[in-house]
Symmetry: C2
Subunit: 205 residues, 2 copies
């Protein structure tokens, strides 16, 4: 009931509900109940509940995108950036399970989420090729991006289900990806085990 806090509660509840029930199995009544507010309040704060899923997905994607860009702004080596990016996702899936379930559930069916893991990686992969860090031809970039995104999402799921700790999963998956790109096994392992910096928060204007 506190002022304008409703928007946040609605969004948080929406992430949770969408993640566990699917993008169109959530009624306004359910949403209100999960958010701990009255049904009318939902209609007061959400212009069109039909588009709520799209909006939430787009905002989650954009927020993660911003945070990652800021968080390794000073990292120069494309390989380190790539490994950090992968590990950021995996760690966050561990720290915010609802976020993780949402991402893994819709990563491959929701367009706006796809940009999240084809945008920043794309930059780093191209940069890595340009600098001679990797040894595959540029024409294979789509396949490489598929591997990076697929491996990350799949690892998030693995962590969410407790098959591996986020630390191990993150380092192992990052190392596997780097090796696939042509980086020597020992160096790949070393990069993937660097201390992972915090994922910085970003103010929304």
């Amino acid at each position: 009931m506190p002022l304008e806090r409703s928007q946040i509660r609605i969004r948080d509840a929406a992430v949770e509900l969408f993640a566990e029930k699917g993008s169109s199995e959530v009624s306004v009544t359910e949403l209100a109940k999960a958010a701990g507010i009255a049904r009318g309040t939902v209609y007061n704060n959400v212009e069109d509940p039909q588009n709520l899923f799209e909006e939430v997905a787009a905002e989650l994607a954009a927020e993660m995108y911003r945070r990652i860009l800021v968080s390794y702004a000073e990292v120069d080596d494309p390989a380190v950036r790539l490994a950090h990016g992968i590990r950021f996702y995996i760690r966050r899936a561990h720290e915010e399970p609802a976020w993780g379930r949402f991402i893994t559930r819709f990563a491959f069916s929701e367009g706006s989420l796809r940009e999240m893991w084809t945008g920043p990686p794309m930059q780093d992969v191209l940069l890595g090729i340009a600098r001679g860090r990797y040894d595959f031809p540029q024409v294979q970039v789509p396949s490489v991006l598929a591997m990076i995104g697929g491996t990350s999402v799949s690892a998030m799921l693995m962590v969410a289900e407790g098959h591996r700790s986020w630390r191990d999963a993150g380092s192992e998956c990052a190392a596997l990806v780097l090796r696939a790109l042509g980086i020597d096994a020992d160096e790949a392992r070393a990069i993937a085990c660097l201390e992972l910096p915090p994922l910085l928060e970003v103010e929304v204007s």
Copy 2:
């Protein structure tokens, strides 16, 4: 209207509709229309429409599982088996787009589909380790399976959207995976470019 053909038409329409609209956005009326039959016929042939999605998913998974096992029964090298498996999925996503969209959409949220890509690969990965074909410790098997599954699903999606041909995507992704597992780049490429045998049909009893 042909005898008992209704079951098949319902299942085919269900795969198509679930893939494009989501697992719970499909009404019986819609399903009947898409299958080209009367609404009552759906109720005559489907015991509980509520469970239709689960049944379809489980059957798709089981069918692919069987076909793959039979299709490389005589292949001995675990690395070749693994590469073939990945490429079977990618080729089929190209040849049967509805099948591919269904798999990619629900691969990470539907339990029965997950077994499809953790079962056979698991065998080959363990076999490969036992034979000294790969150079990573057994404790990392979960991460490796995550990479294999995630890369395959992601590649299927890429092919479905026309970013790469199924041949190139299949060979490239298989090669990337093999390299990540410690196989020399040239050998990985060679294995991933072997002639891909047909995916055999399997009779259902």
